[in-house]
């Protein structure tokens, strides 16, 4: 059998096995969309609302912070048990001035300044600095660019209070600035797809979903038991999710608590952000792999997903591209008998159909359907580069003995 056939077969299986798994998750997501709608109608109203603190870590967030504070201060959670902590991590722009102005308008807003010399060490460190100043039994975390819908915090709290086995609840995150560029349109589609399939679908089947870093609520005592936010990790949310799973507790994702956020409109910022996330995923995968082998559920499911993505799917996609290029250039062709051209077409159709399916769960704008077709040959291919960049950066840091580098996503002015 020629080497190109073996190569092709690996690529073929590496793409189709994850594809089949994700398609099955789509079906679970569809079931969850119906269950979640029923849940929302029957959410119990607590007799007593616990004190709730919203933590917003902020470093040079002048461009976005005003809208964020407006949206979070105007939540319909009972105001006598509600506070918002803006944790200013030594911002050098006008973040502090804006926050003070907003605090004068909304009494629920408090400003916590991270002491000099302790700031600039990333989001987890900032959150750990703010936590002792919070009075809430419930802690909600928002990024500084988040604008949740008015009922979002209340719905998160109601869901958490309704189910004793839950430690945390994550709401849905949507892209607010999706009109800003073609890239933000692609990100908006990806977020919808990712959340429904990987959060909703997995919750439906395995009662498993992970924190997404923003728009989530967690019991304070659980947070303190876990030792706060992991300052070494580039993905504090994923890292914390894993620690919660170790304690055999659950995190739920709900589609009805919606928070909007700004996503990077430029490619360079996007690549830096995703490279950081990917490095973070590499870190948690290697850290928890030995545990996952001993305890396959639920951590194993999460680790399996990462491995399937980074070890199977991405290399398979590259092999597939190489095989295609060799074939198109006439250097070598596969000799395997089978309907492979038809399967390539089917694979593309399935990719688009899965995107459209999740968009249909969201009442998304028609133009997003069009962009999801384009994303196959554009946006999706960028991820190959991102995975390589992340692997290269991580390897370089390892060789040079550097620790993982925190990178803060730059904000931009949005098109209104």
């Amino acid at each position: 059998m020629p080497a190109i056939d073996v190569l092709f077969l690996f690529g073929f299986l590496g793409i189709w096995i994850p594809q089949a798994f994700w398609a099955w998750l789509s079906f679970q997501a569809w079931k969850y969309s119906k269950n979640a709608a029923r849940e929302l109608e029957n959410l119990p109203i607590p007799e007593q609302w616990p004190i709730l603190s919203v933590l917003i870590p902020a470093y040079n967030e002048g461009v976005v912070i005003e809208d964020t504070l407006h949206a979070i201060a105007q939540q319909d959670y009972p105001e006598h048990t509600y506070e918002v902590l803006l944790i200013n991590d030594g911002s050098k722009d006008d973040t502090l001035e804006i926050a003070e102005r907003m605090a004068a308008i909304y009494p629920c807003i408090k400003i916590v300044n991270v002491p000099k010399g302790m700031g600039g060490k990333g989001k987890s460190r900032t959150l750990n600095n703010g936590l002792p100043h919070a009075n809430g039994e419930l802690i909600v975390v928002y990024d500084a660019d988040s604008t949740p819908e008015p009922d979002c915090v209340r719905l998160l709290a109601q869901t958490l209070l309704a189910d004793k086995k839950l430690v945390a609840v994550n709401g849905k995150v949507r892209t607010r600035n999706w009109r800003d560029s073609i890239l933000t349109r692609f990100i908006a589609i990806e977020f919808i797809f990712f959340q429904w399939i990987f959060q909703g679908g997995r919750w439906q089947r395995f009662e498993l979903s992970t924190l997404m870093g923003t728009n989530y609520i967690i019991w304070r005592d659980a947070l303190e038991t876990l030792g706060g936010f992991d300052e070494k990790s580039l993905v504090d949310d994923t890292e914390m999710s894993f620690r919660i799973f170790l304690g055999q507790r659950r995190i739920k994702w709900v589609p009805y608590a919606v928070g909007w956020q700004q996503d990077p409109p430029s490619l360079s910022v996007f690549i830096k952000q995703r490279s950081r996330w990917t490095q973070g995923n590499f870190y948690v995968t290697s850290k928890y792999l030995p545990i996952a082998l001993r305890k396959p559920f639920p951590i194993g499911i999460e680790i399996f997903n990462n491995i399937m993505c980074y070890v199977l799917f991405v290399p398979a996609l590259i092999w597939s591209h190489i095989t295609l290029s060799l074939g198109l250039l006439g250097i070598a062709g596969i000799t395997l008998a089978g309907p492979f051209t038809l399967l390539w077409g089917l694979s593309f159709c399935l990719y688009v159909a899965q995107m459209w399916f999740t968009l249909s769960l969201e009442r998304a704008k028609p133009q997003l359907y069009f962009f999801s077709v384009l994303s196959y040959i554009t946006y999706s291919q960028i991820f190959l580069f991102i995975v390589f960049k992340a692997a290269y950066d991580m390897l370089k840091n390892k060789i040079q003995g550097n620790s993982l580098q925190w990178y803060k996503t730059e904000r931009s002015k949005e098109r209104k």
């Binding site: 077969l9 089949a20 079906f27 008998a337 038809l342 694979s347 159909a353």
Partner: protein, 301 residues
Amino acid sequence: MSVIINICGVLIATSNFPDPTLRSFYQDYYHCKIEYTKEESSYEVQPTQTIYDLFPKNPTWWPIFTSDQLDSESYKNIVRHGINPGVILPNDYFSFIEYFKIKKAVNEGAIPIALYQMKTPKYFAAKATFSTAIGLRPLGAMIETGWDQNIISQPAGNYFIQSKNSNDLNVPARIIQYKQQFFYNTTIDPTQSSGYQIILNPPLNMSVNNIQYPNLGISWKIHNTNYRSTTEGIETNLLGYVFIVLSIVVIPLDYIFSAHYPSLLSTFGSSISWISLLFGGILLLILIISIIRRRRINARN
């Protein structure tokens, strides 16, 4: 051409003189020697079906149905009486309708029986593995081509033997044990009056008071991996379970295992591509229907 044999003084015309194993069964269970007789004998020659009546024993039986008979009144009557009949799995392929019909019957207690072809035992192994994967684990093997002395070299389990034509001498109407194998006389003739027989597609009017179940269970071997299917479940090793899962996506499994590298990979690649096309097509259809439904619901709201 037929030969005349003498069984305890009764002359029977059969197509072949029975092999030593079959003769030993008649010796052990009917206590009769089978002897060759010259055709010029003046005694009347009897048909083979009459033999079983010559050796009286309380008549007991167990029903087996072909899949096309699962809607019959006879089958329904058997199930209504709380009896678990056998159901023969189709030999070549399952249509979806046929699969769901058999699956429903199995869920209600019917016992899957796989066809065994002496010429292609590997096919049986592949079929049994695949049937296990799709929830129709066989507990017996049906041989439609009559007794063959090579059966005794097959894996342990129970074998239902049906004569190919009326002139063939079948195994005695008893539960016949040979080492770890059990053989059963299987017939479509419901007029039995003596001994134990498996009745294929029995008519509605048969008495259900004398049902006796066979010793259910069958073994097979794939690529040096042993399987033992019992009423409790399947017994195999880790590789065996891998083959069960693999059998869903690799067609045909028996062909794969008779192939050698490099054609092994080619066959695997080729068959999995067709399976992927089928599954992918179904999946795409489901997604398209879901999208249309969701868009309609959204438009209404």
